[in-house]
């Protein structure tokens, strides 16, 4: 085994991630997009009170998600919270402009006294490409060049850059500057080895998006990240995991509440990608062996602790609220996560570390 870092449990960060799915209100009606955004604000405020470390908001441009502009929502959260870090998850860099990304996040950083974070990535959907006039087939060059520029802009010094995907910059300074001189920026990666290598090349922290199948297959990816950093002479930073989940008082309540929402969510996306409809059996299997963290606080905590120790990561973000879940269950879930799951995960991780040392 290659893992020797053994991160102490108190250093592990726990986050919640939302794409701004549309919840149901108390009368079982789907909320409006605007109400769904306000729901996320309430959830962030609750998470902050509970001491949850991060909230990350994804960027989507489709009717089933309310958040297309995560920074604006984060700005709203910024002035109502004290400690929680405010991240995107992910910012679709290929169809954005690195200069503007920096400007928006450094503004959130100002509003939040230094709590802004960026997670850059490809995202799991592609609707931003046609929307903003990019060709899907240009994905590689768009991401590669924009990442290179982003890395420069993040240094917060005058930037000189030229490439093919945006006008060049000659010794241009970008504002506002942050007080700390740096916005914490990671890259979100699915299963592509080349993306892991690229993250190491720029020395960014790595967020592994594990949205299906067992997390075990990512063990060598963490090793790849560290080895690649060595070869490039950069330094490997933190590694985190982002996976979907839902928590209720009992396993049965959790899976029975999550299933209909999950099915709607999955089948709707499946229609555009040519997947068949998802069955309850597959859902249950994914809970048992895969990457759905659904169940009672104890069940979910055990599963998270297993992943954290297995991959030796220092951050776990739970994507919550997929599909039309009742808004009340979402708030309850965050409460259980903050009050019960996180403390139990820390305890379990400590026990596992003791056993191996």
């Amino acid at each position: 085994m290659a893992h020797t870092r053994a991160i102490p449990s108190k250093k592990i960060l726990f986050g919640i991630d939302s794409f701004g799915d549309i919840p149901k209100d108390d009368t079982e009606k789907l909320m409006t997009h605007a109400a769904a955004i306000r729901q996320v604000i309430d959830e962030a405020v609750l998470a902050d009170k509970l001491g949850i470390d991060v909230i990350a908001l994804g960027e989507h441009h489709r009717s089933d998600f309310a958040i297309s502009s995560p920074e604006t929502v984060l700005a709203g959260i910024a002035t109502l919270t004290k400690n929680i870090k405010l991240a995107s998850g992910v910012t679709v860099l290929s169809s954005d402009d690195p200069v503007r990304v920096f400007e928006r996040f450094s503004t959130v950083d100002a509003l939040s006294n230094g709590r802004a974070q960026i997670i850059l990535g490809r995202g799991s959907f592609t609707e931003s490409f046609p929307l903003f006039g990019y060709e899907l087939t240009d994905y590689e060059v768009l991401f590669e060049e924009k990442l290179e520029l982003m890395a420069e802009v993040l240094k917060e010094k005058p930037v000189t850059w030229s490439g093919t995907v945006r006008p060049s910059l000659a010794n241009i300074d970008i504002f506002p500057k942050t007080e700390s001189g740096h916005i914490h920026t990671s890259i979100g990666v699915g299963g592509s080895p080349q993306s892991v290598v690229r993250t190491a090349k720029y020395g960014f922290p790595l967020m592994l998006a594990i949205i299906g199948g067992s997390p075990d297959r990512f063990i060598p990816y963490v090793q790849l990240y560290e080895e690649a950093a060595k070869q490039f002479g950069t330094s490997a930073k933190e590694v985190g995991v982002h996976s979907p989940g839902f928590i209720a008082d009992s396993d049965k309540e959790a899976s029975d509440t999550a299933w209909p929402a999950y099915k709607l969510y999955h089948d709707r996306i499946g229609r555009t990608r040519g997947w068949p409809k998802v069955t309850r059996e597959q859902f249950d299997r994914e809970i048992q062996h895969g990457s759905l963290y659904i169940g009672s606080p104890e069940t979910v905590a055990k599963k998270i602790a297993r992943t954290i120790t297995l991959l030796d990561v220092s951050r776990f973000d739970m994507v919550y609220g997929f599909g039309p879940l009742p808004s009340k269950s979402r708030l309850k879930m965050i409460e259980l996560y903050g009050k019960e799951v996180i403390p139990l995960v820390r305890k379990l991780v400590d026990e596992a570390t003791k056993k191996t040392t």
């Binding site: 592609t126 299963g191 290598v197 299906g212 067992s214 297959r217 690649a228």
Partner: protein, 211 residues
């Protein structure tokens, strides 16, 4: 006598290519693997994710394999070194994925399977469609020795019986029950939007969807 299969070459070193390399190494095959560029670009990831596989160029890989597996984006099929694939047994594991391949009308034609388009481009190769319908994470998690309970199946479509037999044996050694479904044209049934796409099922259940 058909040629004995000892060496597998994989064109594409991404999610699927690396997973197939891992399974093939475990089954005892010699494995060559190539990405879009030079072998240096993939050397590190191959050495860590599929240690034992030999990183190389597509040209060299195509030449070396007893079976050559296509695991690159379908939209790039015209970059496949066709002259090196004369008379070779080729497994087409590619799917038309509009989010990667863009909106390519030719690949969406409901009359032909995408594997037939690939076969037209590689007229001298023996193309068999396989290892295309199951997600790469399932391939990795579900591979099991022959006879295991709950073993999963992979469908195979090809025009020549002996090719399908050879691919069947290969798939069996990778850890899945082979399920021949007839001619290459039938590969259509495994494509996105069709019944078996995404299927992670036992042989019987898969057969009931397809046969």
């Amino acid at each position: 006598m058909p040629k004995q299969i000892h060496t597998i070459s994989i064109l594409g070193a991404g999610k699927l290519g690396i997973t197939i390399a891992q399974l093939a190494l475990k089954a005892g095959y010699r494995v060559y693997i190539a990405g879009s560029g030079s072998e240096d670009k993939i050397r590190l990831s191959v050495s860590i994710l599929a240690p034992g596989a030999v990183p190389t160029t597509t040209e060299h890989a195509a030449q070396m394999g007893d079976i050559v597996i296509l695991a690159l984006p379908l939209g790039k099929y015209r970059t496949i070194p066709s002259r090196k694939l004369k008379e070779k047994l080729v497994i087409d594991a590619m799917n038309y994925w509009w989010e990667v391949d863009g909106n390519a009308d030719a690949l969406k034609n409901p009359q032909t399977s995408t594997s037939e388009i690939v076969q037209q481009y590689l007229p001298d190769a023996r193309v068999v469609k396989a290892i295309s319908h199951m997600g790469y994470h399932h391939l990795r998690d579900e591979a099991q020795a022959a006879g295991a309970q709950n073993r999963k199946a992979l469908a195979i479509a090809g025009n020549h019986r002996s090719d399908v037999e050879q691919v069947s044996e290969f798939i069996d050694r990778l850890g899945f029950d082979p399920l021949p479904i007839g001619e290459l044209h039938n590969g259509r049934q495994l494509e996105p939007g069709h019944a078996a796409f995404g299927a992670n099922l036992s042989k019987d259940s898969l057969a009931s969807l397809l046969l």
